[in-house]
Amino acid sequence: MTRYLVRRTLLAIPLVLGIATLLFFVINLAPGDPTQLMINPSMRAEVVAQMRANFGLDQPLPVRYVKWLTALVQGDLGYSYSYNQPVSQLIAQILPNTLLLSGAALAVAFVVGVLIGIVQAVRQYSLLDQALSFVALFFYSMPSFWLALMMILVFALFARNVWDWPIYFPPSGTRSVDFAQLGTWDQIVDRVRYMVLPVTSLALVLAAGIARYTRGSMLEVVRQDYVRTARAKGLPERTVILKHALRNALIPVITLLGLYLPVLFSGTVFIEYVFGWPGMGKTIVDAISMRDYPVVMGTSVIFACMVVVGNLIADVLYAVVDPRIRYE
């Protein structure tokens, strides 16, 4: 297993570097550069030229590429033009937000999705199964930004201003402004309150998809001979489903996890925008529009690493749920 992991990791190096190289040239060939976005009628040509020189943008592209690559190999992701701080530091400030949001959403989505999937498979064609299918499809086909806006409307605006509910949630942000003045317990409650809406918006859509997968895969497994054998030897239904059937049914779901992990790091742009959640998705989109090359490159390298790590985790989990799978 260790050898396998090392081999996979080593194979990932050229992949990550290749992606980064491709991105470097693509973003640098896009029209415009960071100085052109500092719009001021008196931004004269000579000021722009000086600013480009200060940024090192006056050097030829291949020279900049070699410099960037040399720095990257030394762990230096460069300096952001629009945030005026080192990219590594910026990512260190932003990444925890994303990990918190996507980690929580992923956990909720998988727990809820798998549970619903099991219930549906066990009670196939029952009224409950059909109702859950309907609900799952409803959320699955909903655009996440629309769902997010509706959540804000219902659980923030209407809950507080119209229906006067005892509990409502803040529409945006990661913590209240007087967070620093709160006690530890209140701080935890505060953070959770701010997470509820974005995590739910993100998790609902994912859970719906996971439930569909789990249901399908469970239905296939419960018809297998070994499940029948388990039932025949008199095991309680709970053990049959959770121990014998579920473990095998989870294999395709784990593939899903491998695919979702990187998407969650990069693909939460809408949720981040709507909930004003300062995360990686919004950072990279803003950096592209600001032509902040170092930030684009830095975040892309991180994403590429996430994809590799996500797939690696999925592969390891295969072996965990299915003892027949061995990596040499």
């Binding site: 052109q36 008196s42 992701l77 803040p170 942000g173 004003g276 300062p278």
Partner: protein, 585 residues
Amino acid sequence: MMATRASIVLGLVVVVAACGRDYADGGAAAMGVETFCADVAPAVDAFVTRMEQERPVTDSARYGGTVVVASIGDLPDGMNHFASSNYSASQNQQFVNLMPLIRYDASIQPQPYLAESWEVDDLTRPSTITFHLRRDVYWHDGVRTDANDVAFTYKVVTDPETAYPNAAFWDHYVGGAAGVEVIDSFTVRVRLTPHADYMDPWTSVSIMPRHLLEGVPVSQLKQHPYGTQCPVGNGPFVFVEHRPQESWTFKANPAFPTGLGGRPYLDRYVFRVIPEQTTLLTDLLTENIDVYLGPRADQVPEIIRSEALDLLHSVFRSYTLVAWNARRPQLADARVRRAMTLGINRHEIVEAELRGYGVVANSGVPPFHWAYDPTLVDSLRYDPAEARRLLEEAGWTDRNGDGVRENTEGVPLEFTIKYNQGNRYRQDIAEIMQAQLDQIGVEVQPQVMEFGTMIAQISGEERDFDATVFSWVTEFKLDDMDLFHSSRIDQPYAFSGTRNAQMDRLLDTLQLVVDRQAAIPLWKEYQLLLLQEQPYTYFYFPERLDGINKRVRGVTMDARGEWVNIKDWWIPKEERRAAQRAAAR
């Protein structure tokens, strides 16, 4: 075997490095970030704590509370004035964290601020200004602000290597060390050649701390950690924390001079970034934020309906325009450009788009400005018949009956209007123009573009555009040199590329006339000439709209900006967040 192992180890190192695990060092160490911030933070804490003890707050009915101001964008340059090209960032420098030498009062007259007085050697032909600084202004780390800070700031902003964005401020000042002289610790003199509104730059140039930034190569000042990580200002609010894309937190400066009103009423001021405007409105309605800067006009009814909120609105210094690329043959004739303006119902656009919160513009001179000519307000009003006549006169006639005019060579009168995505006002303008100009036989294609690409195309050497929808924010010192003077035709923002000798003469003269009374007729002539020449079709000055929670008292927002008197904002004790939180329990 050894080689394999070594390569595995090396490979792992590369992956770990490339995956960014090693966040703490890298570029940060190279820039001295850690030492800079680690050095200044304890000094600021110590000074502020000491001053808080020395000057305790007595009137708790007014002093205290936190105000949250939110907007769709971050403050990209932070509190680093040397890099400042962003409106909100500049405002926060001027009124929150730093101090310019002077400030405007509501009637746009210069008033003392960091400088308690100043002398101009000759009011009709000024060649030096001598500023006398206050002696009771301290940087937030306890060092006194003095004339050396002013001289340092002046030398940096006039140094070409700094790439200071507002280069036009210094066109008629003597740059560098030759232009500034420290007379004594609190007196400083700058040199200039006589020109119009020469005091104006001093209202927006925030003075920067010499003791912290001298010695940093000027070309690297923009990237110095001072700006976004540990600014040390001297203004009414002390920097506490910056979370990128999320918030800036400031607290009251207990050492702010009593002569300038002393400590601000608010304990803390938080600037939040919320990129989605629907969320912003909900945040305001649910009192998660106190001030929503720049709501869309269509959100105004919701704000007005709410009992807890007020809408502040006033005409601002920005204007929206369509720039015509006169380098294009079909747009080279001023009569054609004038016909375009006459063919568009701008008053209707102000009513429909801005719900009346705006004024039709005919030049870049804002309606409240002393140089504004109110008699021209109704010029070039919607008149399709006159537009058609002008086009006929210029030789554009529909010769083949397809509804689009052609010239004698059969070239149709058609062009594209570029606008950036994500700006609904600009999209609507382009689409309304398409519909209305079609009525006078002109074919217009609106074309949406990614912002960076559009800027590259309209400001690059190629000038790859026919027309573009755009906006400018002007200073109080008006200066269209870089937009319309023929000697600046290759500058990035000389969109129109028109050449007009009279315009050149006026622009040259207007910059130099010191006496306003003598300048007014020239400004009138200039505004008349713009109506003739139409390098732009000026659309409107939109009113600046701000949604604000009524619990925040004492707020003034006008053409000077939104933060102009933030020092005097206050929240009654029982309406503060902490009080509400306690009451909810």
